[in-house]
């Protein structure tokens, strides 16, 4: 089974997001970079499938030269090959342009399955997987929290929950699935994995600048502070009577 996993380099955000001086990007001078939790799970799911069926996991990203770091992290987790679709000068690609670029790798690669995260952590466009599936002419299901592939490796049962209902989708393969964190618990990279990742050759493919996608960002801003004025009720167990009063006041004591 040959699986393609699509990932995206995004800033690691801890306590706060700040916007750069020009108001058009997230200030990343103080942050590291990562891929989203959904995508970590996509890589893990692919590695497990290949452990069961044999085959390969190829991981691909569309991003700047520095995104090599995220590809090596995926290689350390068990991916066997990596492709960097290198964007010029930090250009941001819209969802349609991203899907078109990924299609150049997904088409004709003999893949049985393409996995993506349900949505990118940063832009949250919720559409790249579906646009890619239409370009490939493959079936697609999104938001998947459980996946079962039959023993022949020809069909997938994918599950998600929606408004208190479990939805199960039966898809013939090849297909595209976007997955959510919780589908599995990703492993930590092994030492041999890290060493292999360090030595691995990453295939680099330059991508020309994105065609206009019909949407142009004019500004980014952090919404009005959700900061509240915390009343300190006390320290340690001495605060319990005050806590009880607050619970009564809020009407949560039955």
């Amino acid at each position: 089974m040959d699986v393609l996993v699509c990932v995206k380099r995004v800033p690691t955000v801890g306590g706060a997001i700040t916007v750069s001086a020009d108001g058009l990007s997230v200030d990343t001078r103080m942050s590291g970079f990562t891929i989203s939790p959904h995508e970590e799970c996509a890589v893990e799911e692919a590695v497990r499938l290949v452990e069961r069926f044999g085959g390969s996991v190829t991981v691909v990203t569309l991003g700047p030269a520095e995104a090599e770091e995220q590809l090596r992290s995926c290689l350390a987790l068990g991916a066997s090959a990596a492709v960097l679709l290198e964007t010029p000068g930090g250009a941001e690609f819209g969802p349609a342009a991203t899907a078109a670029a990924l299609h150049s790798v997904a088409a004709g690669g003999g893949f049985d399955l393409v996995l993506l995260g349900n949505e990118a952590a940063d832009t949250g466009d919720y559409q790249v997987g579906i646009r890619l599936a239409h370009l490939l002419g493959w079936p697609v299901a999104t938001g998947i929290k459980a996946l079962a592939v039959d023993d022949e490796g020809t069909s997938a049962a994918a599950r998600r929950e929606y408004r208190g209902v479990t939805e199960t989708y039966a898809l013939p393969m090849p297909c595209v699935l976007t997955v959510r964190e919780g589908i599995n618990l990703p492993r930590y990279p092994s030492l041999p994995g890290r060493l292999r990742a360090k030595r691995a050759v990453i295939s680099r493919v330059p991508v020309s600048s994105a065609p206009g996608g019909g949407m142009r960002t004019t500004a980014l801003r952090v919404p009005a502070a959700a900061r509240r004025e915390a009343t300190v009720l006390g320290h340690g167990v001495d605060a319990v009577p005050a806590l009880m009063s607050v619970l009564a006041e809020l009407g949560v004591l039955s």
Binding site: V13, G14, G15, A16, I17, V19, V26, S36, P37, G94, P95, A96, E119, D122, G124, Y126, Q127, I130, H134, P139, V140, A141, T142, G143, E161, Y162, R163, G164, V165, T166, T168, Y169, A170, L171, E181, G182, L185, G214, M215, R216, T217, L220, R221, P223, A226, R228, E229, A230, T231, V232, L233, G234, H235, G236, V237, V240, L243, V246, L250, V252
Partner: protein
Amino acid sequence: MTVFCLVEVDGGGVVDASLRALTLARGVAAQSGDGLAAVVFGEPAAGDLAAYGVEDAYAVSGIEGYAPQAWGRALAALADGASAVVAAGTDRGNEVLAHVGAITGLPMAANCVAVSAGSGGSFEIVRQRWAGLLLEEAVLDAPVALLTVATDAGAAQPAGAPGSAVVHQVAASPADGDLVVRAAEAPAGAGGASLASARVVVGGGRGVGSADGFGPLDELASLLGGVVGVSRVVTSEGWRPHTQQVGQTGTKITPDLYLACGISGAIQHIAGCASAKHIIAINTDPAAPMMARADYAVVGDLHAVIPALVQALRDRS
């Protein structure tokens, strides 16, 4: 021209997220002098639709159950020539509209919180990035604007004057290829759904320390008639299942009270709990970001405070 809104119905009524989408769609229609039409797969809740100013309701039949690509194809055909197509920013809304985008080649803006229609097919939008932690202002130039509306955007507001909500029956005849992916539905067990709608959520984070450390939090949640929610580190450590995660990649909660215990307050977590009406934080570190987001704070070790609180609640009953 017309603004179309995909409307999801549940048990005879329009779901809250779709009422918010209708509210935004009505605003866009009013700005551009367009009519407002609803598209429903199943029984149209004509009363709700009229109250939200819908003039025409298209009830699509011929597709059994939820088949995202077939829904997208039918919506794209109905909305041919529309000025905008709007849907709720739910799993289904985002998914169906993305299919419309892929089928038509149109751009789509997900999770909008505000949209104003300019001249000549240009829309100024404000949409959520980072699960709402960041807002993007953008100009969308497209013959038809595809928009989904954030499920926590504004409030649903009925129209000043109700619409006529004339129901038109539309029989779809989907191609086999559009029906390959179709949901088989079964009732889900408890988990994410009850967390999303719980009145009280007792949150546990890294400070809980271990899977076993959750005993007192479970007991507190049960005494308060609530459920336990956890931060991402807790599910990554395997202490608790992912269905209990509150955050950007977990569940967004909207309780009356969120009691955050031993949670530092990384913004990925804040994205999931910012809509709580009241927040109480218990943390050994008074400078933890969670404390600044709270209405009430207790500086202390949850392993001492929670058992004492549990005891006080037991003594009371």
